[in-house]
Every structure is written in structure tokens, then in C-alpha cells.
């Protein structure tokens, strides 16, 4: 039950995250006698047991924090077996599929289980996730992981190629999620999986051509409210910005400045930057406009995939 928010103390068997730094976490299963190497030195599992999640832990060469995994932190630290979905898209999927405790969901494919964990958090304990993976080893790894994370009761991992063999579910799910190269081939099977009273479907595809074929098929099979969307997260960094105020009066330190100008001429121009910085040093804090600035991160993911949602009413 490592992901359960009511769990506050680290115990053997728990999956914990060793927080090294921003977006840098190490997933560890606590085992008796084991030791883990981090960049700050060794961490003895036995020493973690009994500690409260969220507390700081002294390693030989620095602090780390012990965090309880959440689906969002897990997504940042999980072992990649495939390309994964990230929290921005995952959040939209869970929200747009109308998931809540008790929902029954079909997912293809399982992949690295990034989305699965968010689905399971939302539908547990009374709901169920039927997740399908065509790659045998990956499906087994996922099964172990869900078990380790306390989700065993809420999830069925099936090793099957849904595209060829279908979900083989008979009108039992509230929602279907497709992350497949050819989602349009699975719409019939998805429709059969959705409860007769209706449900929601989502298809995630990186390319617009996939989206076009999928939408066509969804429309042909009487899905309604077909909406294709993109959602991108833009992160802001906080900077303590300093902008120099220029003076509009003749410079009082004129002589001093000229001295440095003379100095400059005896030196190769490539070092002129030092003149600038000495000018900067002369500038008092009052000549600088300082403020905390929220600056968007320069590099951001520009595209992950298109999310297509649709409703199937009673059928």
C-alpha cells in the first residue's frame, strides 16, 4: 500500500522515493539488510524504516528526503519500459474520462504503467482497471509493480495484443483508454467493452493522421462529442532579476571612468568585458532595478500527443 496517503511511516516492503533533487528521485523497495548507493553516498534501508515520509535523511555527503510515491512523482522516477505519458496528459485523461472511485476502466497498452497508477488512484478501492499489454515481459513487470504498490485487487494485467484480439470484455467498463499505433482498429472492440448504458473513450496519438482515422471511425460507430485536444504544461522559473538603471545626468565618476578607458586601450579588446564588469561593480544597488521574475522555461515539450475523447451513449 505504498501509494496510500494514510501511510506515514516507512516499513519493510514499501516502495519509497529517495529525493535527490528537483525532478530527480530514486524509487527503492525497502528490504532488510539492503543498501542503496546515491550520489550523496550509501543509504541503509534498515535506517529508513520507522522514519516518517517527507523527512530529511543524512547521507555521508548530503541530505536526501524520503517521499511517499504519488502517481505524479512515480511518473518522474519510474523505470521506463516504453515511452510514457506524463502528468499533464494523464490529468486530462483521468478528468475527461469521468473517472471516480468505482469506475471500471480498460487500458491498452499498459506500457510502463505511468497512466495506470493515476487511474488506479482515482478508481480504487471499488473500481477496476483491465490493462492490456502486447509485450509479455512488460506485462509481467507491470503486474509485479502493481502488486508491490498495493494495487493487486484493483487491477487485471493481461498479456494480449488488443489490436488483433480485442479487449474481450462484454459491456463492463465505464471508460476505455487507447495508446496504440492504430487505434481505429480497436474501436469496435472498445465499443463492446463499454457498458450498455454508455461510457467514455480516449485515444492518445502522436500524429495527426492517426487522429484523423480514429475520429472518422469513432463517428462511424456513433460515438458523439468527439473532441481532439492538446494540453501542454508551461513551467515558470523564479529569477531574481536585476536590470541596470541608466543615468540621464552627466556621470560624476567621469574621471574614474576615463582612467579605465585608458587602461582599456593598452589591453587587447578581447578583455574589454572586464571593463564592463568593473563598471558594473561601481554601480550601487540603488542603480539596479531588482525584482523577482517568473520566467517561462526556455525549453518545453512542444508536443506529446493528441488526446481524442468521445462519448458513447446507451447502445
Amino acid at each position: 500500500m505504498s501509494f496510500d496517503s494514510s501511510k506515514h511511516i516507512v516499513d519493510y516492503g514499501d516502495t519509497v522515493l529517495l529525493y535527490i533533487g528537483y525532478d530527480n528521485m530514486l524509487p527503492v523497495v525497502i528490504e532488510e539488510g539492503k543498501t542503496h548507493q546515491t550520489k550523496f553516498g550509501a543509504v541503509k534501508h534498515d535506517e529508513l524504516v520507522g522514519k516518517q515520509f517527507g523527512t530529511r535523511f543524512q547521507c555521508p555527503r548530503g541530505w536526501i528526503y524520503i517521499l511517499r510515491p504519488t502517481p505524479e512523482l512515480w511518473t518522474l522516477s519510474l523505470p521506463h519500459r516504453t515511452q510514457i505519458l506524463y502528468t499533464t496528459d494523464i490529468s486530462m485523461v483521468v478528468f475527461q474520462l469521468d473517472l471516480k472511485p468505482g469506475s471500471i476502466v480498460a487500458e491498452a497498452g499498459t506500457g510502463s504503467g505511468s497512466l495506470s497508477h493515476a487511474i488506479l488512484r482515482t478508481i480504487a478501492p471499488t473500481g477496476h482497471l483491465h490493462t492490456f499489454e502486447f509485450h509479455k515481459e512488460r506485462s509481467e513487470k507491470a503486474r509485479q509493480e502493481f502488486h508491490q504498490h498495493g494495487h493487486a485487487e484493483c487491477v487485471t494485467v493481461t498479456h494480449r495484443d488488443v489490436c488483433g484480439d480485442g479487449f474481450q470484455l462484454d459491456h463492463i467498463v465505464d471508460a476505455v483508454f487507447l495508446d496504440l499505433p492504430k487505434p481505429w482498429e480497436c474501436i469496435t472492440s472498445a465499443k463492446k467493452a463499454i457498458k450498455k448504458q454508455g461510457g467514455r473513450l480516449c485515444s492518445f496519438s502522436p500524429c495527426i493522421e492517426q487522429v484523423q482515422r480514429t475520429c472518422e471511425e469513432l463517428s462511424a460507430q456513433n460515438f458523439t462529442d468527439i473532441v481532439t485536444m492538446e494540453c501542454l504544461a508551461r513551467h515558470f522559473n523564479l529569477q531574481y532579476a536585476k536590470l541596470q538603471n541608466v543615468s540621464f545626468e552627466p556621470n560624476k565618476t567621469c574621471l574614474e571612468t576615463k582612467a579605465s578607458e585608458v587602461e582599456t586601450e593598452s589591453e587587447p579588446p578581447v578583455k574589454k568585458s572586464s571593463v564592463i564588469s568593473s563598471n558594473k561593480d561601481k554601480v550601487g544597488d540603488s542603480d539596479v532595478h531588482q525584482f523577482t521574475s517568473a520566467v517561462p522555461a526556455i525549453n518545453m515539450p512542444g508536443h506529446t500527443g493528441f488526446l481524442t475523447f468521445a462519448t458513447l451513449t446507451y447502445h
Binding site: H8, M92, Q212, C231
Partner: protein, 474 residues
Amino acid sequence: MEHELVKEGDQVVFHREGWSRVFQIRKKRQVYLDKTKLDVDALIGQPYGSTFEVDRGKLVKVEAAAAKQLAIGETSSDPGMDNRNLLDLDSNQRMSKEDIMKMKDEGATGQKIIEELIENSETFKMKTEFSQAKYLKKKKKKHIPVFTVMRPTPRLVMDIFSKDPAKICYLRGDSLSQLLSYSNVMYGSRVGVVDTCQGLVLACLLQRIGDAGKIVQLIPNSTNAVCRQVMDYLGFPKFLDNVYSFPLDELSLLNDETHNLSPGSETCGNTETTSVCETSAAAEQLEETTSDTERSEGHGQGSLISNGNNGAATQNSEEAMDNTETLDSEMPGEIVDADKTDTEVKVGEKRLLGPNRERQRQQREERQREAGEIMKEKLDSLVLACKYNPTPILMQMLTFLHPSSSVVVYCQHLEPLVECYTRVKENHAGLQLKLSETWYREYQILPQRTHPKINMSGTGGYLFTFITSQRSSD
């Protein structure tokens, strides 16, 4: 029973693309839908997912095939990209209001009326695709009252506020979805929440904790009414065992065990409070900023946008109904009861409680004491989505959170979150600090006409999220 059927007492969403209204189904109740008074009796016993058309005040079920044809989006006309043969004429709509009324009286379908309107508009085909779409959408809403009845979900509830986002502090669906994820709220969670979004955030979190968790709604003080309207929409009763209120002005007393907490807070269900962000007075600035300024004034296309922005001014639904020109201005859930209005029912209930006021006060005190206990035992998650300055609330509430808890602060403005971020960072109170906004865009996927939608929302607010940490003494 294969299909879920609409029954009396249900909260039902009347839905079409990008538009939803929610009503509670009661016999002999009449509702206003686009200024048409409707009897909703006909819905009882119908399966959810059924589509209806309004025909002179009556609800007529539409078969699936016909519904598909009527759906908004599918009828979008030629995008008008090759308009080489149009002349630059000044004439306008040739159909008069009387002509339209006459067609309606003669029983013409909405679809037919719209076709006539387009046919008789000289300017329509010269409009940009942007304004053609806006025009069509407006006309369809006006003349084709076709909708599907659905069970309310947070997703559908978001549609209700789409034209009046100020009511929910400009929280957009995608931002809400991120908020819910980063809150890590799950079945059984213990959550603190500040919500001045009509109870929207509260209701979403409530849905996620199921019947096992506890939510303490933090309110400014016990005399301030807090609107929880969305709880009704999602079918939760106004007062639930696992939802508590706690007044922030008594927060300082929480650690003083001997202090007798003052009388509890009052929450109201359907009451319309002015929970719009304080800046809404300045919202009029928001109208004029799309660079695609539409200069053709023939059909008052601007009004759709401006309605969306200064909805605060149309708070009073009577007022809106008097304004016969403003067809999209009715408020969510506005109801005209055949016997008595909902408002009257509420007044009645209130009066009934009058004699029991002392007992009620004792109950409130007890609930508030319990809320205090829950907070003292610490919470798993904290969510702020309000019109209040978030930083002081956040810093005060940190002591009531377990370490490794999830915190989400939503704000319409970026600046207050910069302050939150700075304070949390300075106090080493959290890890994984993220300040972000989401950029949301929809696509038109049609054969040979695929492109991002020409209208887009410029902001859905900002989120600050982090995980609480504690310096252990090792």
C-alpha cells in the same frame, strides 16, 4: 436494467457540445432553456444519453441518426477559403425578427431557420472563418435547442461555467484536471480546501475521496456564507458527514485545547453569492484584446464574448430574463417552478429550522470541533482555489499537513503564486516546487479541413504545486 433511466429527483445535465445546463428533475417543474419555458416531466423514465429537441415548449425525443445530423460542429459550412466570387456589399441580414418568428410559428426546424439566416446574410460569406463559426454557434444555440440528457460529471459541470468563468475564478477544465492530479486526493484522503469557485473544487475532491475520507473546507469566518452550489449539481446533498467547515479566523485558537470554539459556520447550497474574483470589476478590459478584431457589426457577434466576461453583471436572473436581447445570459440552473420557486423552498426550510436554532448551533459547534481535531491530526492534501490572497493562508496551513503531503494552489493571477513560491522556498517547507500554467487547444478534425480551432482560451489560470517536507532531527 440495461440502461440507466432518468428519475424524479435526479440532477440532469442538458448537454450539447461545449454547453451544459443542469436541472433537478421534479414533476411539474418547468425550466428555462434559452428563454423557452420547458416542462421536464417528459424526461422521467427516459434513458440517460437520450437526445431531445425543443418544439414549442415540448421535449421531443430525437432518434440517434437525426441527433447526429443536428449536432453542432457537423453542420459547419464551407470554411469560405475560396470566396473569389463575392462582392463587397453593404447590405446585411434580410430576415427580420418577424420573419423568424413566423417561421417558428409555422413549425420550421431550427436547422431550417439557420439555413435561411445564412442564405439571407450578405456578410456571412465574407466573414473570417473565426467569425462564421462564432455566428453559427450563436445561431444554433438560439434556434436549435437540441440536447442530450446526461448524468452530471465534473467535466460536464465545467461547461456550465464556460460562459461565466469569473464565477469559478477563471479555473479552466485542464487546470482543474492538473489540480486534482497534483492534490493526490484519493479514496480515504484527508483534505483541506479553500474554494470560492461555487464549491466546484470541493465537489470534485469530494467525489474522489468517496465515502471514506474527510474534507475540511476552510472559510474566512463563521459568518461568511460559502457557496457550494456545485455539490448540488454533482448530486451530493448540501450537508455531508465527511465534509466539514472551519473558519480561518479561529485557526490561531486551534492549538489552545481549552478554548471554547465559537459558533460554527454556515454554509449554503444554492445561494448565489458574489464569489467572482475581486478583479472582475476590471474584467471589462478583457473583452477587446483578440487581435482578430471583428469589425462587421451586423449580427452583434461581440456579445458572446462580452457576456462571457462580465457575467457578474447579470447575477440576477430576473434581470437577465428581462433583457430579451441577451439570449445566452440565463444563469446555470435557473429554474421556474410550477408551484413555487426553489428560492421559496429554501426560505421555507430556513424558517422551519428557526425554532431549532439552538440545537443547530450546538451541532455546528460539534462539527467545527471535529474539523479542528481532523486538522490537528494533520491532513494529507491542501488545495487552495480562491479569491483570497493565498500566501498567508498557505503558510498558516502548512502546520496542519503531514510531511510528504501534496499541496496545490490555484490562482487566476500569476503574481500571488510567485509570492507563495518564494515563501515556501525561503522556509524550506517543500520539495518539487512547480509553478506552471497549461496551454489548452482543441482541434477541428474534418476531412481536408483539419486545423486547430480558431477560438482558443488565452488563460486557464496558474498552479503552484509542491510536496511538503520536514527537517527531521535524524
